[in-house]
Symmetry: C2
Subunit: 125 residues, 2 copies
């Protein structure tokens, strides 16, 4: 498996484990130039992004990853990661499909999330 | 509306109009370093990508875009575009949900698709 695929898998595993356990702990994964578009709502910078995640109207949440695709995004080591999966939320009777795209950029020997776009996907018919 | 949002919308409109009309005409939108991951199958370069699109097992197809999100992807003008929507294929009795992520990079005063990741999204429950 190529390096970028390993990094993508490790990132996604860590990201959702952290999200589902205590999503305020995701702050170190973002930077001041990071962008999140969550269900069309745009946020930029660590405080705005983590504030948005904290304000999501659920306490218990579980992400189950169905598919994970990764590609190198440029010559500097950036990686594009696309996840599709299922979201289980305390108050919901049924799971919801979602897709999330991360654009990871290298920084100080590790990676941070530069672009983050999240959307629920509703059944087609 | 920001420039990158206008460009993303125009690109997505043109891309699917061309795809649904004659998908071999998508070749100019890709370059030799472009990557496509289509339902986990990886392709690189114009010939491989357009070959894959040509070989898809349908003749009549229609994309209906449900959501479109865009973010600037770097300081050079690159744009990250995430689409969710519905695919209507001749042989299928029911529409299929999909998500597609494009990483557009500027080239010669226009844009080309550097990264392209496509996935069908199945109902969660």
């Amino acid at each position: 498996m190529a390096d970028f695929e390993n990094i993508a898998k490790q990132f996604v595993e860590y990201y959702y484990k952290t999200f589902d356990n205590d999503r305020t702990q995701l702050a170190p994964l973002y930077g001041e130039d990071s962008m999140l578009t969550f269900e069309a709502a745009p946020h930029q910078g660590v405080a705005s992004i983590v504030g948005k995640l904290q304000d999501l109207p659920f306490e218990q949440v579980q992400h189950q990853v169905s598919t994970l695709d990764a590609q190198p995004a440029d010559a500097t080591g950036a990686i594009l990661v696309v996840v599709s999966g299922v979201l289980l939320v305390e108050a919901e009777q049924r799971p919801m499909s979602y897709t999330q795209t991360f654009h990871l950029k290298p920084k100080d020997g590790s990676y941070y999330v530069f672009n983050d776009i999240f959307r629920l996907v509703y059944p087609a018919a």
